[in-house]
């Protein structure tokens, strides 16, 4: 449940950066190969936001996929797997992206 501490870091970073501004919306980017479960972040957010300027804010999570390239057949495909298999059966696949873990933007009053 590392999502709890990471969600805490979201609220810490936003409250620190935005001072007393009331937060209405937070947009995160959580790549599909990042190792973070978006639903767990949503579950934790309400808990850690309570009593802060983020309380009641909407949480939007973009989930960009990784981009895989097969070294055997050269095929390229989107993936949510850290160790994907290519359709040709090869496991020799390079994955780029999909590991994003960022606070993109906030909407404040």
């Amino acid at each position: 449940m590392h999502e709890l501490s990471i969600t805490q870091s979201v609220v810490d970073a936003v409250t620190e950066r935005m001072c007393d501004a009331r937060i209405r919306r937070i947009r995160l980017e959580v790549g599909r190969c990042s190792g973070l479960v978006p639903d767990a972040v949503r579950f934790c957010f309400e808990l850690v936001a309570a009593g802060t300027t983020c309380e009641g804010a909407a949480l939007e999570i973009d989930e960009p996929p990784g981009r895989a390239t097969c070294r055997a057949c050269g095929d390229g495909f989107d993936t949510a797997e850290v160790l994907p298999l290519c359709g040709c059966g090869s496991a020799d696949v390079a994955v780029e992206g999909g590991r994003e873990l960022r606070i993109r933007e906030v909407e404040v009053v």
Binding site: S5, S9, A13, L36, L83, I103, E107
Partner: protein
């Protein structure tokens, strides 16, 4: 309020503005890890992050390692567990300096906990600092502690497919120790399969087969440590 005739309740719309932040979620931990790594390099301390599921034999391996190497290599230990001082007491009995970090509800060590532990432990120059992470193959993988090397321990009583099930952990490992090989005659565990799976996660991972209780393969583990001690104290992280 209805926009045509004005009926219905009055709705107030508050003015909001968007602010782009572009903050990395792990930035705070990673900054602290960079500071840890710098301190460890400046003080010539080799930090090794030991990670595994609960019960793989991390603490037994450390006890044996310290007892076997203690006269020639200075060792210190940061013990990470959710609760209790039990592992710190076991390590303390070997004579090595040890600090217990209890994470409470937390499921992993982070760089700040390690910074605090290192301050309390004050490992001596030229030593090896073992960081025994919380037994967990999921959460510790994401948190850089400032270590020079990551060692993942697997025991043959676990499934050989664990590297595929927990790829985040195995893709960051510099060394995989396959522990409890003395039990191989009694369990169905295919070492070659396990190694092949680990190399899918990290093609250049080193692998050693050991038994912390019977002593198999420990010479190679000690050679690995001595080699890293000579070449690797100031090394940056090798995973991303």
């Amino acid at each position: 309020m209805c926009g045509t005739c004005g009926c219905g309740p009055e709705v107030t719309t508050e003015a909001t503005r968007r602010v782009a932040l572009e903050i990395d979620l792990l930035a705070k931990n990673d900054d602290r890890a960079v500071a840890n790594r710098r301190w460890l390099a400046d003080n010539d301390v080799l930090a090794v992050n030991l990670m595994s599921s609960p019960g793989s034999g991390k603490t037994t391996l450390l006890e044996r390692t310290i007892r076997d190497l203690g006269d020639h290599l200075s060792c210190a230990v940061l013990e990470g567990d959710q609760e209790t001082l039990l592992d710190a007491e076991r390590i303390g009995a070997t004579g090595a300096p040890v600090v217990q970090i209890n994470t409470g509800a937390g499921c992993h060590l982070d760089a700040e906990m390690v910074a605090d532990g290192v301050r309390r432990l004050a490992p001596e120059r030229g030593s090896v600092l073992f960081v025994e992470n919380v037994g967990n193959l999921v959460c510790p993988a994401l948190f850089d502690l400032g270590e020079a090397a990551r060692v993942v321990i697997m025991s043959v009583t676990e499934g050989a497919d664990k590297p595929l099930k927990y790829p985040h952990m195995f893709r960051t490992a510099d060394l995989m120790l396959v522990n409890k090989v003395d039990l191989l005659p009694h369990v169905e565990f295919d070492v070659a399969h396990c190694v092949a799976h680990a190399r899918r996660a990290r093609p250049d991972v080193e692998v050693l087969e050991v038994s912390a209780t019977r002593g198999d393969g420990l010479g190679a583990w000690y050679d690995w440590l001595r080699h890293r001690r000579i070449t690797g104290a100031g090394r940056g992280r090798t995973f991303s």
